[in-house]
């Protein structure tokens, strides 16, 4: 079966693909998400290919479709999410879940699975109680999650559209083309309560309706895959792991608003996403589910991929459409018509985030009520986060809206590593805020986060422990926004610069008493005076750290003390005379030779030479722990003047 010639053919195609895949007894699925690739998963995959082929098994998937049976095969999939434990391998149909797999482990996995019917215990995930989890369902990181938009991530081969057909891919598109009017599709999206996942949380159904009602033609559907937040890789993972879901979602949207042309805007730093998308588009056209006369219904929709040059601000909808037009990516100034009225090439344009589109096939298939049943009243469905920072289980997670921050950090994330204590969690990337321990019971939904001073954003979540300086964190984000501001409006361009310089001064011990007031005053003016979301939210990291960690600012300014011992200009290293055993390790490691002392004698740091790199503290053996980091700084004694004889 080579083509879908009618909506009814989609079910046949599914059965056909399922039957073919069922001819393969075993499948070794290797995660080829960015994290796992960095960990060497592609070598693991090559090794699986080699080891399986050595057994005389042809792993060519096409043979399955020619009716041949196969003992085993191997494929790569998109990100499974548990990047901390990568490279990850899953053996199907049993679902055996291996972590930290190296190429040298492959032979053992294959032998255990195919010859001995056992598992390789040492590669299984070890739970807190020391027992092993055999499948993902057993791993705490996964079992609190609900994966919808990431559902296809880590289960299918993104480069073979037949795998997508086998899991009911394009069924939703077939359903609407056959049975539903555009208005009915919009009604479903509205009823589902889906809110845009690009950060703003605008109700998707209402946007689609506006797109439908726009009079001018042609109309466009644009998918926003710019994803510029530092540390975020949710959209990237969806595009790399399951580009078909985005294509299907966009096609449904095109039908709903009456568009024939779409663009996916992907940042050029995501080459794999671009390759997979292009491949998926090509295959979708080949199979008749995209392009001219889709499924023989006479409906046409084509998609192009546009690579953005990686400016954060180009993720803003109006800057994005200008950027596609080849112009400078600067947000349009309000009051301005909505993008659904005047968008790409000044035509009505429906612009949604990657995830927003990727949810749509599921919503159509399972129904609006199903989606509404997940999450909370005002924020239905799931939320996707890239969990990073001082957390045991870093990775990509999908959780029902309404879940508490605490559950994410402790139950899924496994808490703070190495006995550290939680200090703050940052959501929403550079536009978000830092929330303290006392707010860990805040439910994750658009409105609660907003109230707490942060935002949902597009899904970055950085966990910080007590060794994090909150002034330094605010400075980090301001550094980002200052560089990424497009620069057209004054409060954003010069305001972020001013905030950054003040924060730099505070971190350097040059803060002034009135700086806190000025930070607050400027933050409000930048918020009120800026054109786009970047400027309007740029001060959030400053405002929330000031709101919850003001004492740290005061310590920096008044006492020249960095309580977290991070700001280099405010700390000193000192060797404790009572503890130092004179092992000389520190003196040998110091890059500027600031440490003196004879063997077996107490060592001393010359504060005038020390550059606060902290190597001595790392090198000092744990059993001595003789190096302390102190703040405020130990004053450097003024160099004695040498009398120059006249």
């Amino acid at each position: 079966m080579q083509k879908v010639n009618s909506p009814a053919d989609v079910a046949k195609m599914r059965d056909y693909c399922q039957a073919a895949f069922a001819r393969r007894k075993l499948r070794f699925l290797v995660c080829a998400g960015t994290g796992c690739i960095a960990g060497g998963s592609l070598e693991v995959y090559e090794e699986f290919k080699r080891v399986i082929s050595e057994r005389g098994i042809d792993i060519n998937v096409d043979l399955l479709f020619e009716g041949q049976e196969s003992e085993a095969g191997t494929v790569t999939s998109g990100c499974h999410g548990f990047c901390q434990m990568g490279p990850l391998v899953r053996v199907e149909p049993m679902g055996t879940f291996y972590t930290k797999v190296k190429a040298k482990d492959v032979e053992e996995i294959v032998t255990a699975t195919m010859d001995e019917n056992t598992v390789v215990e040492r590669l299984l995930y070890e739970k807190d109680d020391g027992s092993h989890a055999t499948t993902e369902l057993d791993v705490p990181f996964y079992n609190r999650q609900q994966r919808i938009v990431l559902g296809g991530c880590g289960t299918i081969d993104a480069e073979d559209i037949r795998e997508y057909f086998a899991v009911d891919g394009f069924k939703a598109l077939a359903t609407i083309l056959q049975d539903l009017s555009p208005e009915q599709v919009i009604e479903i999206v509205k009823d589902s309560g889906l809110r845009g996942r690009g950060g703003g949380g605008f109700p998707a159904g209402r946007k689609w309706e506006a797109g439908r009602n726009a009079k001018a033609t042609p109309k466009y559907v644009v998918c926003n895959g710019d994803e510029g937040d530092p540390g975020a890789f949710m959209d990237r993972s969806v595009l790399e792991a399951n580009p078909q879901s985005v294509i299907e979602g966009m096609t449904i949207a095109a039908y709903a608003i009456g568009a024939e042309f779409g663009v996916v805007y992907v940042r050029a730093e995501y080459p794999l996403a671009v390759v997979r998308l292009l491949k998926a588009i090509e295959q979708a056209k080949e199979y008749g589910v995209l392009g001219d006369n889709i499924m023989g219904t006479g409906f046409n929709f084509d998609i192009e991929v546009f690579q953005g040059a990686g400016a954060f601000v180009c993720g803003e909808s109006t800057a994005l459409t200008l950027s596609i037009e080849g112009k400078r990516g600067m947000p349009r100034v309000a009051p301005r018509p909505r993008t659904t009225e005047v968008g790409l090439y000044d035509k009505p344009t429906l612009l949604n985030n990657v995830k927003s589109f990727a949810y749509v096939p599921d919503i159509i298939r399972e129904g609006a009520e199903w989606f509404k049943g997940i999450g909370t009243e005002s924020s239905s469905g799931t939320a996707v986060f890239a969990l990073t920072g001082n957390i045991v289980n870093a990775g990509l997670i999908e959780v029902p809206m309404g879940i508490k921050l605490r559950e994410i950090i402790y139950d899924i994330g496994g808490g703070i590593p190495k006995g550290g204590t939680f200090k703050a969690v940052q959501t929403g990337g550079p536009s978000g805020g830092c929330l303290p321990e006392s707010l860990l019971d805040t439910p994750i939904d658009y409105d609660s986060l907003d109230e707490a001073g942060s935002i949902m954003g597009s899904g970055g979540m950085v966990v910080m422990d007590e060794r994090t300086c909150m002034v330094d964190v605010a400075r980090y984000f301001l550094n980002f926004t200052e560089e990424e501001s497009c620069g057209q409006c004054v409060p954003c361009r010069l305001g972020t610069k001013q905030l950054l310089e003040i924060l730099n001064d505070i971190c350097a011990g040059k803060g002034k008493k009135q700086d806190i007031d000025l930070l607050i005053e400027l933050s409000h003016s930048i918020h009120g005076g800026s054109v786009c979301g970047l400027g309007q939210t740029a001060a959030n990291p400053v405002l929330t750290t000031l709101r919850y960690f003001k004492d740290e600012y005061e310590a920096h300014i008044n006492d020249k003390c960095c309580p977290a011992r991070v700001c280099k200009d405010l700390i000193s290293f000192r060797i404790n005379e009572d503890k130092c055993k004179g092992c000389t390790l520190c003196a040998r490691a110091c890059p500027v030779s600031a440490i003196s002392g004879e063997k077996k004698e107490v060592h001393v740091i010359d504060q005038g030479l020390c550059i606060q790199c902290g190597v001595c503290m790392e090198k000092c053996p744990n059993k001595f722990s003789a190096v302390d980091c102190v703040s405020p700084k130990i004053p450097v004694p003024a160099k004695e003047k040498t009398e120059v004889p006249a």
């Binding site: 400016a311 601000v313 400078r328 600067m330 100034v333 309000a334 009051p335 200052e482 560089e483 990424e484 501001s485 497009c486 620069g487 057209q488 409006c489 004054v490 409060p491 361009r493 010069l494 305001g495 972020t496 610069k497 001013q498 310089e501 003040i502 001064d505 002034k512 009135q514 700086d515 000025l518 005053e521 400027l522 409000h524 003016s525 930048i526 009120g528 005076g529 800026s530 054109v531």
Partner: protein, 345 residues
């Protein structure tokens, strides 16, 4: 055009439908501070200095906000004042403090706005001051580009685009690093800039400033003598000397616009070598003559040169009508078709 009534700071004013709040205010003699607005250009809404409170809740940018009947605008709302003040302080903190030696002193929009919002030394001292050090581009013979004074209002960019259709300059880079640049950041003299100076006259500060301009003591209305268009000019005069030229905004021909020659090519007027009488060559030497002498001599020589040995080359500095007469003269009087025009070369 239909009229609407809006209220600004308690004053009811009447405005044309389609006007912006700022235009309506200006048409009624009310000042709302602004930096990136220029009446000849489409509003940009970038400097954020013209913020106002609309209908008691919404922060609006008055240069972009269209008027609506019954709209209530406040320019003195505390939130709006705070944004405006911080915005102006930020610009000033980023600006060189060389007012007294600056080309724009006295006509600088930034000075006007700073004065209006009330910038104080104490207020300013709270800020970290760092003025961008970018070398002045002196490549153009008529004007200098000093990026350290530029407030990035974009008026020059829009002028070159919307009015001149030349697009010699645009924003380059991003954020605080952004600056007004030619293609490839070449010196402006090596760009496609035609030195018309339209941007220079509109620059609200002295980031674009004419070289060696002097303030005139009086202005004289005149017509540019360079070409047949006949643009209206205001010649700035000091003593007996022309020290500046401005386009005459009231002149229907050019409505204030000028080209490079009309705007900057005025030094010939007071040049010691300027020709003021005809010269006739006598014994190999050019000597001053009267117009009667000169015309007689030409007429005499012309009448001996009829037919195809004669040719006329007409000048673009005279009007269309004069050009018509020359070709008529050449054909009808001199009896030849040997006629051409410098604009064709």
């Amino acid at each position: 055009m239909s009229k609407v009534t809006i209220t600004i700071d308690g004053l009811q004013i009447s405005a044309d439908q389609g006007m912006t709040v700022l235009e309506a205010a200006q048409a009624n003699g009310l000042y709302i501070p602004n930096l990136c607005n220029h009446p000849d250009l489409k509003p940009a809404g970038l400097c954020r200095v013209c913020v106002v409170k609309m209908d008691d809740w919404k922060i609006a940018i008055s240069c972009k906000q269209p008027v609506k009947d019954g709209m209530v605008i406040s320019t003195e709302d505390p939130e709006v004042q705070q944004i405006r003040k911080n915005t102006v302080e930020l610009i000033v903190a980023d600006h060189p403090m060389t007012c007294l030696t600056c080309e724009a002193d006295g006509k600088c929009e930034l000075q006007r706005v700073a004065h209006y919002v009330g910038i104080t030394p104490e207020g300013l001292n709270r800020y970290r001051r760092k003025v961008r050090a970018i070398p002045i581009d002196r490549s153009n013979p008529f004007f200098d580009v000093d990026h350290s004074k530029c407030i990035l209002c974009g008026i020059c960019v829009r002028t070159c685009d919307e009015l001149q259709n030349i697009n010699a300059i645009d924003y380059a880079q991003r954020g605080v690093a952004s600056f007004i640049s030619t293609l490839g950041a070449k010196p402006i003299a090596d760009s496609r800039c035609e030195s018309c100076g339209e941007c220079v006259v509109r620059c609200p500060v002295a980031a674009l400033a004419p070289k060696g301009a002097q303030e005139p003591m009086r202005e004289v209305k005149s017509i540019c003598a360079y070409c047949g268009v006949g643009c209206g000019v205001m010649l700035g005069v000091r003593g007996q000397k022309v020290v500046s030229v401005q386009g005459d905004r009231d002149n229907p021909v050019n409505k204030g616009s000028l080209c490079v020659k009309g705007r900057f090519g005025y030094k010939f007027i007071n040049h010691p070598e300027r020709l003021k009488t005809p010269l006739i060559k006598k014994n190999g030497k050019l000597e001053e003559a009267t117009w009667d002498e000169a015309l007689e001599l030409v007429a005499d020589k012309f009448s001996k040169s009829k037919g195809d040995k004669f040719a006329a080359l007409a000048s673009a500095r005279i009007t269309n009508e004069d050009n018509y007469l020359i070709q008529k003269f050449t054909r009808a009087v001199m009896g030849t078709n040997n006629i051409d025009h410098c604009a064709r070369l």
